[in-house]
């Protein structure tokens, strides 16, 4: 089983409360969760990464137990080895492209210096055509370049799985198609288990070996299944 998710969480904000109750098992390495904004997709992804602690449930990814409320197991995000691509990429604005990509390699109390970086950093810089931008700050990059930097940053850490939060939402339509193709090829090459959340059916068509729909915090069983060959 690649993904065995059972996540319950009640979130409160003022007088409103939102109940997340996601039960989902998948053998697929490419899982797409589709749903409108506010369906709880991002919260589910945060729970898998360890950034949101569920009230109850169990989370297993790639055979590894990350969270089990009944057994009081809750690995911190630092120990889960999830490659997380944030919706707006969350690049560190004060660090150059190279420093961003090498960020996870520097384990101490200081950021990597401007020349730092292992072979892996160099390899991903080259693979994503970012060599010439290595010394730029994220604020100077285009949307597509930012996404590549964020992906490279996640991949250098050799994650056990990729979690992608609306990876193409911030991009122009043309660029979206190009980067979808790139990510598709990359995932096939690396064989990394991946969960992609999106509101865009086009993402499901490209990546969805297994597509589920979420609505109001839970799986939407009534929605027609989307099968891709």
């Amino acid at each position: 089983m690649q993904f065995d998710l059972n996540i319950q969480k009640t979130l409160r904000s003022g007088k409103r409360s939102f109940h997340l109750d996601l039960r989902l098992q998948s053998d697929s390495r490419r899982l797409v969760i589709l749903g409108p904004s506010g369906a709880g997709k991002s919260q589910a992804l945060r729970a898998i990464a360890g950034l949101l602690r569920p009230d109850s449930g169990r989370i297993m990814v790639g055979g590894e137990l990350l969270f089990d409320a009944s057994r009081h197991i809750d690995l911190p995000p630092q120990a889960r080895r999830m490659g997380y691509l944030f919706q707006d990429y969350a690049l560190f604005p004060h660090l150059t492209v190279r420093q961003n990509i090498a960020f996870g390699e520097a384990r101490g109390w200081r950021n990597p210096d401007r020349q730092a970086g292992s072979e892996a950093v160099q390899r991903w810089l080259a693979a994503f055509h970012l060599d010439h931008l290595a010394h730029q700050l994220p604020g100077e990059l285009s949307g597509g370049q930012r996404q590549r930097v964020a992906l490279a940053r996640a991949l250098v850490a050799q994650p056990a799985a990729l979690l992608l939060d609306e990876p193409f939402a911030a991009l122009d339509p043309d660029l979206r198609i190009v980067l979808r193709g790139e990510l598709d090829a990359l995932q096939r090459e690396l064989g990394l288990p991946m969960i992609l959340i999106s509101h865009d059916v086009a993402d499901a068509e490209v990546f969805g070996d297994h597509v589920v729909r979420m609505r109001d915090g839970a799986l939407d069983a009534g929605a027609p299944a989307l099968e891709t060959p």
Binding site: P77, Q78, R80, G83, F86, D88, A90, G104, R110, P138
Partner: protein, 223 residues
Amino acid sequence: MHPTWTALALSLKVACWATAIALVLGVAVGFLLARRRFPGRELLDTILTLPMVMPPTVLGYYLLVLLGRKGWIGQGLQDWFGINLIFTWQGAVIAAAIVAFPLVFKPARAAFETVDGRLEDAARVLGISEAALFLRVTLPLAWRGILAGALLAFARAMGEFGATLMVAGSIPGRTQTLSIAVYEAVQAGQDDIANTLVLITSAVCMAVLLTAGRLAPGRVGYR
């Protein structure tokens, strides 16, 4: 050394120590208030801001009550460590630090609140410990606001008068800071000394404000 320079040196020494103390505590408390939700958070913020609006003499009186020989803290310090803070330059440091504290912690809290929590999350999933990500992500993104606050705190500590006079008195060469020396000079009719002291103080304050203006948020280079 000429008394004027002694007073200036003492003022700088007191202001430096007071700013350092206010900086460390202000950053810690500002971070706590920006990032943790707990009951009484805003009440704590209000209490900690009080030194900014209370008359310095009232503050000085509180400090005398606390730090004096019969005070809660003063008596303990005297009994256990043989330390007396009243009428010492260290007492002046504490008075100035408390007056300057809100000027650091307010902008520090605001600066920490503007740091996008997702950047900290991004560091977490990359395996960076909480302490390291504070030093590598949160602090570098907040430091301009904090530094601008620290400079204002320094200027405020330099100019501290009321609380300092209450706690440390006005002993020439020992606790008589620049601003107190101005008062003493005017009282004694020594206008030439007062003129010199006032010009020096004004120059130092101008320099600090100019530097603070350059560092103020809104001139941040990235984003």
